[in-house]
Amino acid sequence: MHQLAAGNKPELSASIVVVEKLVKRFGHFTALSDVNLSVGAGEKIVLCGPSGSGKSTLIRCINHIEKHDGGRIVVDGVELTDRMTDVNSIRREVGMVFQSFNLFPHLSIVENCMLAPMKVRGLSRAEAQERAIGLLRKVRIHDQADKYPGQLSGGQQQRVAIARALCMQPKIMLFDEPTSALDPEMVKEVLDTMVELARDGMTMVCVTHEMGFAREIADRVVFMDRGTIVEEADPETFFRAPCTERAKDFLGQIIH
């Protein structure tokens, strides 16, 4: 399925993302050290951990919005390196949803969804529009297609952001706290959309503290603290009986 460079280990072939011994520094501060993670096709991973533990940094390294300083990241069979000439060939396959939506305010909802497929995937206007409307329908917001982002509620904007990412037909979706900027009554509509996406078989890495969501869809919960992965388990085990003190403290805090 994936084309692997000679010398890659065979067990990588089933994974869409492989992270090995990842190091990321900001100046003298080490934000990630020795992070190892692999995400199989169709797998759903929930990343959690205290503020500043490096969750955002980790997923931002996966689509090279942050450049790592050590270790390896292989996405869809291609290693991310500084010398890589076409980082966009990887970004095309990796969708990302941000905490603050980051919709383009000067474009209508449907145009937000059409821009990248036309510019990057080379779709015609008509094709891009058809795809956009289809995915907006899927997130149940197609009746707002001609409005502008500023006219929608936060929950609606975030669903548009999900549709916009899906319009690129990515192989994996990254979510960075997609519900934490939302008013409580809008959290559910976004989570429902994500659950549906998970049921459709999308590979997902989600940074979120929504434990109900994690229980429902996660194959694995990965707990990070101070720039490393401290614990990994299936959600049932992790929430019921975390092994480490740090995870216990963390769960104690977020339940309140």
């Binding site: 689509n63 919005i65 970004r91 603050s100 980051n102 510019k119 409005k147 982002p149 990412a165």
Partner: protein, 231 residues
Amino acid sequence: MNSLDFSIALQAWPYLWSGLLFSLALTAVAFVVGLVLGTCLALVQHFEVPVIGRLVRGYVALMRSIPLILVLFWFFFLVPIVLGHLGGNGRPVPIGATWTAFITFGLFEAAYYSEIIRVGLRAVNRGQFEACQALALSTFDTYRSVILPQVLRVASPIILSQTIILFQDTSLVYVLSLTDLLGAASKLAQLNGRLVEMYLVIAVVYLAISSAASQCVASLRKRYAIAGMRR
């Protein structure tokens, strides 16, 4: 002095009109050249292109710190000499007052517009750039389709006021012996002695054009306003 007699201005209208057309043409060319070039200068600084970025910064600072009238003199006397040296024989190549005016205004306004755009670029939320990266948009598409349209919209009131100033500044071409609206009025006033009438008439023309421009931009803004967009 006799009572006011505006019929003078009416008789002189063709001459005033040709002056006005020159002012408008100079404004239009300087606006287009200045905005396009200014956007490029702003991007060069924004990308911190080595060496060139610093040169551009120096150029913008220089243009913004000296009066336009001085720049007009410089270009009128310097450009022919530079062209002469480039041509090889060292003899000045006169380019004429009209060309001097168009080139100078374009280059001068570029400095002002570039500063407006540069500040606008810095004001764009970082999340917009990250969203473009995440969607695999090329740098070119990012700026053309996402960043610059937002910058130009936000900066349009300042761009407009700069352009109205530009329109008024076109009167400085009198130092090159060119005749714009104000120049035409001055010459007529000296000939017929009707200073008050002439200057009143053209003041009204300036006022009408500037406020028409403001009105026009305001209605464009209303029409193209981005629904729900703050700012």
